[in-house]
C-alpha cells in the first residue's frame, strides 16, 4: 500500500466505485475523515479558533491521561453502559456532576436542563425528559435517580421573578420553569417578607422536592420504588459555601386492607 502513488490510489478507488456503486456512501464518509485528518495534521493549515484549540487540548489530555491509561475499563464501556445513577442536574456551567460528584465515565446517566426540573408525566409536552427517565429506569436499570439543585440558580430566580400574570417576556423559559410553581407557592407562603435572595435559596431546594414528587407520576418509577429496585434522592450543591446536602425520598405502600363484608361497612356508615 505504501509504495503506491497518490494517483494510483485514486485510480484504484475510482475503479472500485465503478464496479461497486453501493459502496459510494461509505467511501465518501471515509474520504471526508481522511481529508479532515490530513488538514488538521498539515502545518500550513489555517490557525484554529482559540476556543476550538482549547477543546482539542482537552480531548488529547483525556485520551492520553484517562483512555490510554485504563484500556480495560474503556474497552468494557465501548461494549455497553450500566450506570448505577441517573442524575438530573442544572445546565449551569458551574455544576457539572462529573466535577462536583467526581462521576467517572460509565457511572451516571446525566440529564441537564434549566433549573434541574422533572415535569409530571406528559407524553406530548415533555417527551424529552420522559424519554430519559424511561431509558434510565427500564433499559439501563439504574438503581438511583438523584435530582440536584444548586445555589444562585438563574432558572429558579426567573421562576421567583416572572409575574405569571398572562404576559410573557420569553419564548420558552417562563413556560419551562413554571414546572416549579408549587415550590414558589410554598416558599412565598412560608417566607413572606424575606428578601428575594433568601426566597430563592428556599425555592432552589423546594423545587428539587417538586421534581422528586413529579417522578412519582411515571408508572415505571413507581413500580421500581415499590419493588425496591429504584431509590430517589434529592441534592443541593451550594457553591458559595462549598457544601453539599443530600436527602432521600422514602416511599412505601403498606399491605392492602381488605374488607369483605359490604353490608357491614354500609351498616357502619349509617350508624
Amino acid at each position: 500500500m505504501g509504495s503506491k502513488s497518490y494517483e494510483e490510489a485514486i485510480e484504484a478507488l475510482k475503479k472500485l466505485m465503478s464496479e461497486k456503486g453501493e459502496l459510494k456512501a461509505s467511501a465518501a464518509a471515509k474520504v471526508d475523515q481522511i481529508t479532515a485528518e490530513l488538514k488538521t495534521a498539515s502545518s500550513d493549515g489555517k490557525p484554529s479558533d482559540a476556543s476550538v484549540e482549547r477543546l482539542k487540548e482537552g480531548f488529547i489530555y483525556f485520551k492520553r491521561e484517562k483512555y490510554e491509561k485504563n484500556p480495560a475499563l474503556y474497552a468494557e464501556l465501548a461494549k455497553g453502559q450500566s450506570p448505577k445513577y441517573m442524575i438530573v442536574a442544572c445546565s449551569d456551567s458551574r455544576v457539572c456532576p462529573s466535577h462536583v460528584l467526581d462521576m467517572q465515565p460509565g457511572e451516571a446517566f446525566v440529564v441537564r436542563n434549566v433549573a434541574n426540573m422533572v415535569p409530571p408525566y406528559d407524553q406530548t409536552r415533555y417527551s424529552g425528559i420522559g424519554a430519559a427517565v424511561e431509558y434510565a429506569v427500564l433499559h439501563l436499570k439504574v438503581q438511583e435517580i438523584v435530582v440536584i439543585g444548586h445555589s444562585a440558580c438563574g432558572g429558579i430566580k426567573g421562576l421567583m421573578s416572572f409575574p405569571y400574570d398572562g404576559t410573557t417576556s420569553t419564548d420558552f423559559i417562563e413556560d419551562w420553569v413554571k414546572i416549579g410553581m408549587p415550590a414558589k407557592t410554598k416558599v412565598l407562603a412560608d417566607n413572606r417578607g424575606e428578601p428575594l435572595g433568601v426566597q430563592c435559596t428556599c425555592c432552589e431546594k423546594e423545587a428539587v422536592n417538586v421534581s422528586l414528587g413529579n417522578l412519582l407520576s411515571y408508572p415505571f418509577v413507581r413500580t421500581g420504588l415499590v419493588n425496591k429496585t429504584l431509590a430517589l434522592k434529592g441534592g443541593y450543591y451550594d457553591f458559595i459555601k462549598g457544601t453539599f446536602e443530600l436527602w432521600s425520598l422514602q416511599f412505601a405502600l403498606s399491605a392492602p386492607l381488605s374488607v369483605k363484608d359490604v353490608a357491614t361497612i354500609l351498616h357502619w356508615k349509617l350508624y
Partner: protein, 299 residues
C-alpha cells in the same frame, strides 16, 4: 405530599367498642391502600432548611390481609447509601474547590461560559470528561441522543436552555456532540411504525426523523450498525439545521456573534471529529443541507 384524611369514624360492633377508622381516599373494590411519603434528611454538612416528615401513618385496627408490611428503611441503614456520594463530593472539594478557591468564589457571583454544549445523557460521554470543560466553561444540556427540536415544535427543556444560553448568557459557540453506539439513535433506526408513540423514547427520538430518512436514502446497503453510525452523524447535522429555525439564533449567526459546531465522539476508537456550520453555504443550499467548514479529526 399526599395527605390522608379520615372521612368517617364509627364504632366497630365486632370488636367490643374499639374505634375503627375507614379512610375515604383511594377506596378501590373494597381494598384500602395507603401511600406513605416521608422526606428524611440523613446526611448534611451544613444545617440549612429542615425537612419534616409530612404524613404520619394512620393507625390500623382491622387485621391486614397479610402480616407483611413494607418496611421503611431505618435511619442508620440509610446513611450507608450516601457514603459513596459523600466521599466523591469531599474529594472534589479538597482537590478542586479548595485548591482554586478564588476562582470558585468569582464563579459563584456569575457564570460567563463561552460554550453551550448539547450532549447525550449517555454515562460514557460527559463533555467535562472527554473535552476537559472546567467549572464555568460550558453551559450544558444533556438529553437522549443530543437532539435539538425545531422552534415550531413548541416549548421543551432543550429550547428553554437554548434561549437562556443565547439571550441571557450570550454564549459565543453552540457545540452539539453525538457519539458512537447511541441507544437513542438505535431506537430511532429500529422504529417500525412512526405513528406508534406508546413509549416516551419513541415520542422523543422522532425529532431526528429527517436524519433517519437521509440515512436510509444514502446508506441502505450498509449493515444496521453502520447505518446507525451514519445516522448518529446525520442527526447532529439535522440538529444544527434545527438550531437555525430559532430566530434569535439565526440572527446572531448571521452577524458572526455565534458559531454553531458539530462534534462526534467515537469511544470505540477514541477519536473526536469536529466541524463548524458554514452559515452562508448552508443558506445557499436552502438550509436543507449542512455545509461545513473547519473540519478536524483528533485521534
Amino acid at each position: 405530599m399526599a395527605a390522608l384524611a379520615p372521612t368517617s369514624l364509627s364504632k366497630d360492633p365486632l370488636s367490643n367498642g374499639a374505634l375503627t377508622r375507614i379512610f375515604g381516599s383511594r377506596v378501590k373494590s373494597l381494598e384500602i391502600q395507603q401511600t406513605q411519603l416521608r422526606l428524611w434528611t440523613c446526611f448534611r454538612s451544613n444545617s440549612g432548611v429542615k425537612l419534616k416528615a409530612s404524613a404520619e401513618p394512620p393507625a390500623l385496627t382491622r387485621e391486614p390481609k397479610s402480616d407483611k408490611q413494607e418496611s421503611i428503611m431505618e435511619m442508620g441503614n440509610g446513611c450507608d447509601l450516601f457514603n459513596e456520594m459523600k466521599n466523591n463530593f469531599l474529594s472534589f472539594k479538597k482537590h478542586k474547590y479548595m485548591e482554586n478557591l478564588e476562582h470558585f468564589q468569582a464563579l459563584s457571583k456569575a457564570q460567563a461560559p463561552k460554550f453551550m454544549v448539547i450532549a447525550c445523557a449517555d454515562s460514557r460521554v460527559c463533555p467535562s470528561n472527554i473535552l476537559g470543560f472546567q467549572p464555568g466553561e460550558a453551559f450544558m444540556v444533556r438529553n437522549v441522543a443530543n437532539m435539538v427540536p425545531t422552534y415550531e415544535s413548541g416549548p421543551s427543556e432543550t429550547n428553554a436552555a437554548l434561549e437562556f444560553a443565547v439571550n441571557s448568557l450570550e454564549v459565543e459557540n453552540i457545540l452539539i456532540i453525538g457519539h458512537s453506539c447511541c441507544g437513542g439513535i438505535r431506537a430511532l433506526m429500529s422504529m417500525q411504525d412512526e405513528v406508534d408513540s406508546s413509549s416516551f423514547i419513541r415520542s422523543w427520538v422522532i425529532v431526528g426523523k429527517n436524519a433517519k430518512l437521509s440515512t436510509k436514502a444514502a446508506a441502505s446497503n450498509l449493515s444496521f450498525d453502520q447505518q446507525c453510525t451514519h445516522c448518529e452523524k446525520e442527526s447532529i447535522n439535522c440538529s444544527l439545521l434545527n438550531l437555525l429555525t430559532y430566530p434569535w439564533i439565526e440572527e446572531k449567526v448571521k452577524k458572526g456573534e455565534l458559531s454553531l459546531h458539530g462534534g462526534y465522539y467515537d469511544f470505540v476508537d477514541c477519536t473526536f471529529e469536529k466541524w463548524t456550520l458554514d452559515y452562508k453555504g448552508s443558506v445557499m443550499e436552502g438550509k436543507n443541507r449542512v455545509v461545513v467548514k473547519n473540519q478536524s479529526f483528533w485521534c
